[in-house]
Subunit: 142 residues, 2 copies
């Protein structure tokens, strides 16, 4: 029994990914060039589905394309160990932690501005938010 075959549209549906994105991933070398029909349509099989899932899930975790290329290299090449993958995951976790901290600072700044502007019925040149944007260092570091 053969593997099941998928058109690019079916692959896209299975992985919640657009057809154009699959084209794009092929162009940049993340996805392999698959076999084609007589007429030139791409034909995919299960390993393609799994690989594309891997890519999309890694993207959803915030990995950049270049990082995903490295992750795939660990997988495609023999003689790699789990620790290399774990290290990248930990690195990514610290990047995400930073982003969360940035956004939380930003959120405080916005909330403070909103609280200042209690009534909302002042002319714009009296607005505390506008004032803050003009004159304050709105997003602090610490």
């Amino acid at each position: 029994m053969n593997y099941e075959k998928y058109s690019i549209g079916q692959l896209a549906k299975k992985t919640a990914c657009k057809v154009e994105t699959v084209h794009y991933y092929e162009k940049i070398g993340l996805m392999p060039e698959p076999p084609r029909t007589e007429g030139g349509h791409r034909v995919y099989a299960l390993p393609h589905v799994k690989r594309l899932n891997f890519i999309r899930r890694s993207r959803a975790l915030g990995f950049r394309i270049e990082q995903i290329k490295e992750l795939l290299k660990f997988i495609d090449e023999p003689n790699h160990y789990c620790g290399e993958v774990k290290a990248m995951a930990m690195q990514q976790a610290s990047v995400v932690q930073e982003k969360i901290a940035d956004l939380q600072r930003l959120q405080s700044a916005l909330n403070e501005m909103i609280i200042q502007c209690s009534t909302g019925n002042k002319p714009v040149d009296d607005c505390p938010i506008v004032d803050a944007l003009y004159t304050e260092n709105v997003v602090g570091q610490g």
Copy 2:
């Protein structure tokens, strides 16, 4: 007594912004076309500094260029009230809140994967992280 004048380089330094970015903001209509010297160099004054500060700080709060155009419209045109600005700030706060929640989910997913992969000395095809990326819905919604 005249206002002080600034070259584009001085303006950039005062606002922690690159010269190219000022060019860009002028091209897209965020910054006005300033007067020029005989030789064609741009000449700025204090209102330009304040406006650019406003733009940069709004960007630091995560506002998009199109939103900043609207904020500036409130300021440039008469007859706008603080409430319009406040509404945009609140809208932005909720966008930021969403992003924080997304990143926190993402962080949990990464941490769980990292914990699973305790030793780091397994071959890659036995790695729990790789396995998760291949087969799990890594970033849940709730």
